[in-house]
Symmetry: C2
Subunit: 241 residues, 2 copies
């Protein structure tokens, strides 16, 4: 685990990323499991270099974890409760990881920075799940997509951060036409509808949905997609360039 003070990071400031993907008709969130004994999950996050814009830092973290850049990314909230520190997490960690102690006590110097209170800026990203190869860092045992309705219990307030990210996504969805970032380059209207339904967790009327989306005037209709099913083949769409 890196000591941010050694790396010219801003102290006590972190960035947490809620990376949304879409698969299996459900919203998915990228979560890593930490590389310690015990089950500790966390959102991908990081710190801000002294000479780095916070937006750049969020992009860097995202690129490290997903391998892609030029992804949609939006700052949505700052989590800054005074109680927001890693003390509980460290206690649980120490109990299960005796190698982290010296004569039964945690190595105070090494973990001092880490147990301080952190103010964390929340960013959410929307990515095409097929273009992403999740990347572990050295503190991760694994990094995987989890259905947003079935997330593990994460450290600190990371579950609450996901909730708030989803609220912000819903608010900004229509305004910024950003849902399509979650789909592959071409998609059918039904896929778009199912995506919207999974984000808002409610059904939409098929015909009215199509009308509403096409009236946005941002999609172009391509060829039909023949699936072999015994029914009318749907058109494929793509975002207008």
């Amino acid at each position: 685990m890196h000591n941010p003070s050694e790396q010219n990071f801003i102290q006590q400031l972190s960035i947490d990323c809620v990376i949304f993907g879409y698969d299996d008709n459900q919203l998915q969130v990228l979560v890593n499991k930490l590389n310690f004994n015990g089950d500790f999950w966390a959102l991908p996050g990081g710190f801000v270099y002294q000479n780095e814009d916070i937006d750049k830092a969020a992009n860097r973290i995202l690129h490290e974890r997903t391998g892609i850049s030029e992804i949609y990314l939006d700052q949505f909230y700052v989590f800054g409760n005074a109680a927001r520190n890693n003390l509980n997490f460290l206690d649980a960690l120490i109990a299960l990881n005796p190698q982290m102690t010296i004569e039964g006590k945690p190595n105070k110097e090494e973990y001092d920075w880490f147990t301080k209170r952190f103010v964390s800026i929340g960013y959410y990203a929307l990515v095409d799940i097929n273009k992403v190869v999740p990347q572990k860092t050295d503190i991760d045992e694994s990094i995987k997509w989890y259905n947003i309705k079935d997330l593990p219990h994460m450290i600190i307030d990371h579950n609450a951060i996901v909730s708030k990210a989803l609220d912000s996504l819903r608010l900004n969805l229509d305004e910024k036409l950003l849902a399509f970032n979650l789909l592959s380059e071409t998609f059918t209207m039904k896929e778009a509808q199912q995506l919207y339904e999974s984000i808002f967790d409610k059904p939409f009327a098929r015909n009215n949905f199509q009308k509403k989306i096409l009236d946005l005037n941002v999609l172009e209709r391509l060829e039909k997609k023949f699936t072999g099913a015994a029914n009318k083949a749907p058109f494929l769409y793509r975002i207008k360039k």
Copy 2:
């Protein structure tokens, strides 16, 4: 000027407050003029104690400057460009304030913390301008209300912070019914309309505005307000408890 590192503040993190009031049919913003030679204006701001929630810190800063608490307060954005520091400000300051130098150079130690890059959390507040007695701190020469259309040129990105705050206010206005925080406890429909018109900088139709606001079902109608004018007396309204 306080050195935040001496006061157990989180380093390189600040809070800037856009305090909105309403007077003279126009939105007003509380701005202080700094207590140095030269014309330096800044938004009321401050820092976050190690053991203090960021929301509490914003409330504390607001209370210091306005004397009131339980005011509407909302975090709206984080300003975190790497170039966001006080170097330009300090240069201008030094040029006009020779007493701040030692043998022609600024006292490096004293201003070191101050010239670092700061990440600032923006909060906006809505206050009843009549209940506020603006409070100077020791770094202020004055603190005054300025018409939002006629703000002075402020340090760093403070003018941009006000713009962003106004955008957020407009977006949240209907949703959170918070405009009425800017009015005194009882008000006429015309006053409410003029407030909305000043916030959105456009006219509303009188009858439709009344219908829309009353349909929100958050106001109760009180007695009439007789002004002595030769016309029908308007009703007073108050937010339902």
